[in-house]
């Protein structure tokens, strides 16, 4: 019998970003605020790096389970920004994310991206909710602005975008159907790109889940789905790749310099407190990591 409730993270390092290190920080926040066991899903290389760079105690303290995968990853070059003025590219290994249904050791799983920082216990209530699958279907920047049109719909006249950053699911038949549909879309990505007309060569799991939801909704862009929850219409809050974290006070109070989407040189300061956030600028997260780990007494 699997453990009942828990949180999973996928983390595959590349030559630019140490995902497993960021997963430790994300796990610390989960344990602090959700008090749930955490499972790291990674590959042998990243796991070896984790063991070489962190103590056994810290690894055991951060992860209750470690699942090693050896899936073949699709070439997926992603461009990252660190503020509007700096950018780099790296391989992004995400083509096996739908396999979480197979890899998770939990009956009820919350799958989080390693750059999703849990600062509240809000997500706990969805473990007791009625929806077998939950994801965000809308997002806001820390400036309370909507994302660019390409991140609201798959193309100008396209279907609504759902975000795979946070996925809650249980072991129901519907959840299995959802992940099987996601796998089918991932396996036939080029066909669905042609059919749904979404841009970019980047393999995005957000597109896969959006199409899976659309198919399972009777090919309609429904406001409410019988089986898929949207975290009660709340928004995924994104710290964009072009924003920067400039200071943290304790664990929860973060001061962010947030850019204007149209005039990127114009910034305002935003204080984010008691708010779960998706930190898309991973370099910024890496810069803050040592100080935050100290706050956790690590």
């Amino acid at each position: 019998m699997n453990e009942q409730k828990g949180v999973c993270f996928f983390a595959y390092n590349n030559e630019q970003l140490d995902y497993v290190k960021m997963a430790i920080l994300a796990s610390k926040y989960v344990k602090e605020n959700l008090k749930l066991p955490v499972c790291l899903i990674t590959d042998e290389g990243s796991d070896n790096w984790l063991s070489q760079t962190h103590s056994k105690e810290l690894i055991e303290d951060s992860f209750d389970y470690i699942v090693i995968t050896n899936d073949e990853m699709k070439p997926n070059h992603r461009r990252h920004y660190d503020s509007p003025w700096s950018e780099f590219a790296a391989q992004f290994n995400n083509s096996n994310k739908h396999k979480i249904y197979e890899y998770s050791p939990f009956e009820q799983t919350l799958l989080l991206d390693i750059d999703y920082i849990v600062k509240t216990d809000v997500l706990l209530k969805y473990f007791d909710g009625d929806s077998p699958v939950c994801m965000f279907d809308n997002a806001l920047s820390v400036r309370n602005e909507l994302p660019s049109p390409q991140e609201r719909v798959l193309y100008d006249a396209g279907i609504k975008m759902w975000w795979s950053t946070v996925v809650y699911f249980d072991r129901s038949n519907f959840s299995k159907l959802f992940f099987d549909t996601w796998a089918h879309v991932a396996d036939n990505y080029a066909f669905y790109q042609y059919l749904y007309n979404f841009p970019s060569r980047l393999f995005r799991t957000d597109y896969c889940v959006s199409i899976a939801v659309h198919i399972l909704s009777g090919m309609q862009d429904t406001q409410t789905h019988l089986h898929i929850g949207n975290f009660d219409d709340t928004s995924l809050v994104n710290v964009s790749q072009k924003d920067d974290i400039i200071e943290t006070h304790g664990l929860n109070e973060w001061i962010i310099i947030a850019h204007d989407q149209k005039e990127t040189w114009k910034n305002i300061l935003v204080k984010v407190d008691k708010q779960d956030i998706h930190v898309m600028n991973k370099r910024a997260l890496e810069r803050m990591l040592p100080g935050l780990m100290e706050e956790f007494d690590v």
Partner: protein
């Protein structure tokens, strides 16, 4: 730069920052007002609380209530739901009040950021 314009732009930036912080707090408060009960989703606002209280005052113990997702929910204990709604409402408004007071006292961006 003309000193008058410099001051105006400084105030403009302050207003932008403070309004954004207020929206952040309102988002947080809205999240705290969400109550999951008996498979339904209820918003702990004046309307829901008053309606449930009215049913209780009319001697109803249980009822079918349409939740915020427009689904009919069988509520077996109206008193229990009312208690949960009041708890959520109180914690949301308390947090709102604390944060709002902090913002009201902040006369510049440094104060808003607690620097």
């Amino acid at each position: 730069m003309d000193e008058r314009l410099e001051k105006a732009l400084e105030f403009s930036n302050y207003a932008l920052t403070i309004n954004n912080q207020k929206r952040n707090i309102r988002n947080r408060v809205a999240q705290l007002q969400i109550v999951h009960y008996a498979g339904g989703v209820f918003i702990a606002n004046h309307e829901t609380i008053s309606f449930i209280k009215t049913l209780i005052d009319m001697k109803h113990k249980k009822s079918i209530i349409i939740d915020s997702k427009n689904n009919p929910i069988t509520v077996k204990s109206l008193n229990e739901l009312l208690e949960k709604l009041m708890d959520a409402y109180t914690s949301a408004t308390t947090e709102f009040d604390i944060e709002n007071e902090k913002i009201k006292k902040s006369r510049n961006i440094k104060k808003i950021m607690d620097w």
